[in-house]
Amino acid sequence: MEVTLRILRYDPEVDEKAHYETYTVDAEPTDRVLDLLNQIKADQDGRLAFRASCAHGICGSDAMRINGVNRLACKTLVKDTEGTITIEPLLGMKVIKDMIVDFEPFFEHYRSVLPFMINDSPPPEAERLQSQADRERFDDTTKCILCAACTTSCPSFWADEEYVGPAAIVQAHRFIFDSRDNGAAERLKILNQQFGAWRCRTVFNCTTACPREIKVTQAIGEVKKAIATGRI
C-alpha cells in the first residue's frame, strides 16, 4: 500500500524555520513508522535526521510526535494510523535538526532527583533480601526507558521547562519505594521544591503518552502523598 508522510523538517545549516515536506512510500500495514523513516532516508532524502537504535521499543531513542501524539516510531505500526502520517519533533525541547531534539536539559532533570541506590550500610556477602511484596511496590517504575514521551506531553512542562517533569519523578519513585534504599527523605525534599512534584496538575497526558504503559500519574501521586505525609 502507498502511505503518505508529512514531516516537519528543520536543518539549522540550511533553513531559517521549520517547514513540512511530503513523502510517499510503499509500505505494509505491519511496518513500523520507523521503517518508513528509514526507507525515506535510504531512498529519497539522506538528510532526514532522527535517532533510532533497537527498533523495538526498549532503547528510547525515537520518541516523536506522530499524528499529534507522542509515540515511539518503532512501536507505531502503519495499521495503527489513518491517512497521512504527520511526523513532528517532541514539544518543549529545543529542535536541533528534524526529529533530533536537545536531550541535555531532560537528563539534567533526571540527574537532579538522585536516580541511584543510596544505601551506605556495608552489604552482606550475598544479596540484600527483599520480599516479593516489597519488590512489587516499585516494579512499574523500573520499566522507564527515559524516552521523554511523558515529560514532553505535559502542559506543566510546556509552561515552564524548569519543572523536573514526569520522567524524573518516575525515576525517583523507583528508588523512593525500594525497601533497600535509604535516600527517600533527600529525594522527597528535592521533589517538594518549587519545580518539583507539585507542578503536576494530574492531566494524565504522561500516562497516555508512555510507550511502556507505566502508570505515570499514579506514581507521581504516590510521591506527592509521601511528601505530604512523610510516610512511604
Binding site: 528509514n38 532516508k41 539522506g46 541506590m117 525500594d178
Partner: protein
Amino acid sequence: MTKTHQHEVVIVGGGGAGLMAALYASRGADTAVLSKLYPIRSHTGTAQGGIGAALGNEEEDKIAWHTFDTVKGSDYLGDQDAIEFMCEEAVPTVYELEHMGLPFDRTPEGKIAQRRFGGHTNNETHKPVRRAAYAADRTGHMILQTLYQQSIKNKVNFYDEFQVLDLLMDGGKACGVVAVELLTGELHVFHAKSVVIATGGWGRVWEITSNALSYTGDGVALTMRKGIPAEDMEFFQFHPTGIYKMGILITEGVRGEGGVLMNNEGERFMERYAPTVKELASRDVVSRAMYIEMREGRGINGKRYLHLDVRPETVNKYAKQDDRKNPDGTPYELTVEDLRHKLPEIIDFCRTYAGVDPLTDMMPVQPTAHYAMGGIPTDMRSHVLGDEKGNIVPGLYAAGEVACVSVHGANRLGTNSLLDLVVFGKHAGMNAAEYAKGSDYVPLPDDPAGPVMEMLDGFRKGPGHESHEKVSQIKREMQQVMFDNVGVFRTEDMMAEAVTKVRQLRERYKDIKVSDQGRVFNTELLQAWELGCLLEIADVTAESALNRKESRGAHAREDFPKRDDKNWMKHTMAFLKPDGVEIRYKPVTKTKFEPMERVY
C-alpha cells in the same frame, strides 16, 4: 578545528561492558566514556531472560556445573581457563549488581529469583537447572539502568553522542581515539594512556537480526584496520526465536518457563533432536532443528517460520509429560498470571509486532542473527592480543560482545552474555586504570585526525564521476547474501559465493557518495562509515567460515557435517589485509575437560 582532550583511560562504548569498565577505571584513573548513543540507549538494554550464576537460590547448583555446561555449550572451542574464571566470578558479580540496586525478581525467601535456560543443567541428573538470575524479561534493561545510575552517582565523565572513527596507535601502543561529535560534526582527538573497546556486536551484517541498528561492529573494524586480528569470526549465533520477518528477540526464558516449539503438524519436534532437554538444548542445536523442519516442509503453512507456544494449557500438558517439578517437589504448573508477571515484555512485543497474544495464541518465530561469539582477541584480563602468539597490545583492552576471550567458543549459552560483559568489563576497567597509573602518555601521531577527515570528505565528495553508489543498496545486498549463504547452514559453494559478492560490494563501496553535505547530526555520513565496518566484518566472517572445514557450534557445514577435534580444535585468527584476508590459527586452552560428543 579539531579539539584535543586528555584522559588517562578512554572507554569506547557505553553499554554494560563499557559502563562496568568505567565504574572500575574511574576509581583509580581519570576516565572518560565515549558513546555514539546516549549510554542508556545501548543494546545491553534489550537483553531479556537473565544472567547466569550458580547461586543455587532455587535448587542445588554448582560453579563446576556452570563451567562444564559453558565448555560443552561452546562445542569445546571456548578457552577453559577463561570459562572457569568467568563462572567463578559470576556469583560475587551478580551479588555486586544486586548491591548496586538491581531490582531482581525474588524467591519467596527474598533471594534473587532464578529460571531455567538452554544448556544449563544439573550435571548429575542432566535436567535443566534454574541458574538464570532475572528481573522479569527485562534483565538487560535493569543491568544497563543500574550501571548507568551508578555512573551518575560516581560522576563518570561522559561524551554522549561522540562516535569513534579511529584508534590511535604509536609504536604498537594504543594512545587514543578520534571521534566525531554528532551535534557539531567536529572531530575530537582523545589522548589516552589506555583505551577500552566496548562497542558491542554486528548483527546488522545479516538481513534478519535481533540487533540494534547501531550494532555495526565499529570496535572490531577499528582494531582490524590497525593490524589486530579478529578471532573466531565464523561463529555467529542465530537465536532460535526471533519474531517472523522482523527478527525481534523472544527470550529463551519463554522456553525456560515451559514454552514448546511446534511444527505445522502440531508436533513438538525438539523431542526428536534433543530427547533429554528438548527446547532447552543449546541455541545452535535448536536453530538447526528449526531449519531442518522448515526445509522438510513442516514450516507453518509451508512458510519459513514455526510456532512457539507458551499458552498455559500447552505448557502444563507437556510439563506433566516431562514430569517437571517445582523446587519443593510439587508438579510444575503455569498460570496466565505467572506469564503476565514473568514475561510482560514478550507479551507486549508479540501484541505490537506480530499481532498475536501469547496468552491465547502461538507465536510465529524463525532463527535470527543474534550474537557474535568472535571478535577482538583478548586474554582473561581483557588485554587485547595482537597476534596468534598471544602478544598483548600495550594500553589496549576490549570487553563485552566485541571481545573474544574466548568464553563462548563456537556457541554461547543464553545468560552468559550479560555475565561476560559485567565480569570482563570490570576487569578491563581495573586493568586499564592500573596500566594508566604505571605509564606515561605516548605522544600522539602527527595530524591524528587527518586520515578520518580525509575519509569523511571522500564520502561527501563521492567518486568524482557521474554515477555513484548508495549506502542503502550496498547494505541490502550484503545483508541478503550473508543471511542466505553464511547463516545457519553453510556449504563451500555458498560461502565462496559470499566472499566473491562481499569483495565486489567492497569495491563498489569506494564509489559511494552521501547527499547530506552538512555538519550537524549528519547521520547519513556516519551510516556510510558504519557500512565500511560491516563490509569488512562480512568479508572476514565469510573467509573465516570458508576456511574452517568442519562443523562446530554455530558453524554448521553440510559438506563437513562432523566436528573434527584432531584438526580443528583451534581458534581462527583473521587479519585484514589490503588484498584480502589472511587466516592463521591458535590452539584452544584446555584445563580439565576432554572433548566429548555433544548430546542434549
